[in-house]
């Protein structure tokens, strides 16, 4: 494909300067974003193991629930019976005490000690997931969301510009460069070939990431502007957001099991 050489030169400059301005922050966001794939294993690794005794057999569950409710009546509001306890959910019976908001609620688990007495443990989870999320979503900047989010949105706009300019630069020599990995002559050439190949192969994913990041950062202003300019009576959502479903591995306990 032919593109005028002066256009390619201008976009080469754009690509370079976007890289200089936004490259470091994009690197942090990419790296932390890749690590979020391993959020759960990392959380499991960073969380100290439970000190509760092994969960009693399922048949003794009503007994355990009765003991829990006798000692902690507040658990009656929302407790769950775990059929197959896991390292993340190490107790047969767990319950949640709500705080001021969702982040402040505390989870407890219960078991029977060797002598048959009730054992209760506060279930901790290492805060590694929140840390990685903060790094991914706002580069770990120590600003409130209202400041960090637009900054991240501007970086996402620069990211999109980098994708367009990089594609324009590569198009004229695409057929020659794409399958080339020139090892030996010049280290710079080698890394440029790697950069080009990685960039082309992952371009669809990069486009999705850039556009979703722009929307993630700016959807509120987008909606606000469209409510004023596009829609005659503003935006009114018809469907209420569905209530958050409980985690799949928690089975809801029924009142009848307490009576049993």
């Amino acid at each position: 494909m032919k593109i005028r050489s002066d256009i390619v030169k201008v976009y080469k400059n754009v690509h370079i300067w976007v890289g200089i301005v936004a490259g470091l922050m994009l690197f942090i966001a990419f790296y932390a974003g890749a690590i979020t794939m391993f959020e759960k294993p990392l959380e499991r690794w960073a969380t100290p193991p439970s000190v509760l005794s092994a969960p009693p057999p399922l048949a003794r569950t009503p007994e355990l629930i009765a003991a829990v409710l006798a000692a902690h009546p507040e658990a009656a509001k929302a407790y769950s019976v775990v059929i197959e306890p896991t390292p993340e959910l190490p107790a047969r019976v767990v319950w949640r005490v709500r705080g001021e908001n969702r982040r402040q609620s505390v989870d407890y688990g219960a078991s029977f000690a060797a002598d048959g007495s009730l054992q209760v443990e506060r279930l901790h989870r290492a805060r590694v997931a929140q840390f990685i999320d903060a790094l991914h979503q706002s580069f770990g900047l120590p600003f409130p969301g209202a400041v960090a989010r637009p900054l991240m949105g501007i970086v996402a706009l620069l990211y999109a510009m980098a994708l367009v300019s990089g594609t324009i630069i590569l198009l004229p020599t695409f057929a020659a460069d794409f399958f080339a990995l020139r090892i030996g002559r010049s280290i710079k050439r080698l890394w440029l070939d790697v950069h080009d190949a990685l960039g082309v192969v992952s371009l669809p994913f990069h486009l999705i990431m850039a556009l979703t990041c722009v929307v993630f950062a700016f959807h509120d202003p987008f909606y606000a502007a469209q409510a004023r300019v596009v829609y005659p009576h503003g935006i009114h959502w018809h469907e209420d957001a569905p209530a958050a479903a409980p985690p799949a591995q928690w089975l809801p306990a029924f009142a009848t099991s307490v009576a049993a």
């Binding site: 959807h219 987008f222 596009v230 959502w237």
Partner: protein, 98 residues
């Protein structure tokens, strides 16, 4: 260097034009889709979301292509003209269909 050659100059003005007028263009174009696209302006929540999503590719597209203008003045003038046409059509659509 002939006068017709594109140069890496006026980046501040071009970028500002792309960011501001590009956003206006994205807003008006997404609005046109909201009114003239399938189902019209009352097509429901899914379309409201889609129309919001349209802003991102149009805005970033304009912002990326703004360096093709020869200077900052041309960028502002052409984009302002495009904005005026798009908002004019949007107003027309709102008047006739609303």
């Amino acid at each position: 260097m002939s006068a017709g050659r594109l140069q890496s100059r006026h980046w501040f003005g071009k970028t500002c034009a792309g960011a501001l007028l590009g956003f206006g263009l994205a807003l008006a174009t997404s609005g046109l889709f909201a009114w003239l696209g399938p189902g019209g302006v009352v097509a429901g929540d899914g379309k409201v979301q889609f129309v919001m999503w349209l802003v991102a590719p149009i805005w970033t597209g304009v912002l990326s292509c703004v360096f093709l203008f020869r200077d900052s003045r041309r960028a502002w003038l052409w984009l302002a003209a495009a904005d005026a046409i798009a908002f004019g059509l949007l107003t027309l659509a709102r008047r006739t269909l609303g």
